[in-house]
Amino acid sequence: MNLSDIKSLLNASVLTKKCVLDQDVHSAFSSDMMSNVLAYANNKSILITGLYNAQVLRTAEMMGMACVVFIGRREPDAQIIELADDLGICVMLTRFSMFTTCGKLYCSGLNGGVPSER
């Protein structure tokens, strides 16, 4: 699955200026606790979160993640999108709930990327 497929599945809008939509991803991690992302996520995952702050992008950066999907009906602040563009991380926004977002992606082949769950 690539980022373009994820965008379509989630009916998401891309908020960053740059987003390489043909890059492949194999797993996803969803959490509003960045502590858990840093401890358990796979570096090839995308991050799904309802938390809106700059540290979400910093966390994704440290983990080497290519994309952050924000859950919600409002766009993150321009400062957050600007940071994502600087870091080369694609940011999407979906109006689906966290549960529905994860369900759609899981049913389409993404896994959690956590070794203990395999």
Binding site: L51, N53, R58, G64
Partner: protein, 140 residues
């Protein structure tokens, strides 16, 4: 040691938005030097966890980084309240973070254990009322 490159960063506790800039800078430098991606990832995660800890628990401080041919050493010095029980603080899930920090996505009690998990050596020196120094090394 002549083949070591030294960097220093001031970490301010006043602006949560800027937390992580030092870790981001070191990550970029290591990438440009051609260090192995897995080692870069470990350094980035460990240093970022430490930097966040300095901001949320210790009113900021200073980070000293030495990049050597086969190792990165990070020393994080804060002037915070100190850690009363280091063994307890190293347990996954132990946290003293207030609700406000949890709402920012941190303070789940994973920081110090994750720093240990991502480094080859880690040492904590803490004095109550004086501050804490965490020294970490990642070999590559």
């Amino acid at each position: 040691m002549s083949d070591s490159i030294h960097y220093e960063y001031q970490v301010s506790a006043e602006d949560f938005t800027r937390a992580g800039e030092a870790s981001s800078d070191i990550k970029s430098k290591l990438k440009r030097m051609g260090v192995a991606p897995e080692a870069i990832r470990k350094v980035a995660i460990a240093m970022y966890e430490g930097e966040i800890n300095m901001v949320i628990h210790a009113n900021g401080g200073k980070i000293f980084v030495d990049i050597r041919p086969n190792q990165v050493e990070m020393q994080l010095k804060d002037n915070g309240p100190g850690i009363p029980n280091i063994d307890q603080a190293m347990q996954e899930g132990f946290s003293t973070a207030p609700e406000q920090i949890l709402s920012l996505g941190f303070g789940a009690g994973m920081g110090l254990p994750n720093m240990r998990n991502n480094t080859d050596e880690m040492h904590i020196d803490s004095t109550l009322g004086m501050g804490t120094t965490v020294t970490m090394r990642v070999n590559f």
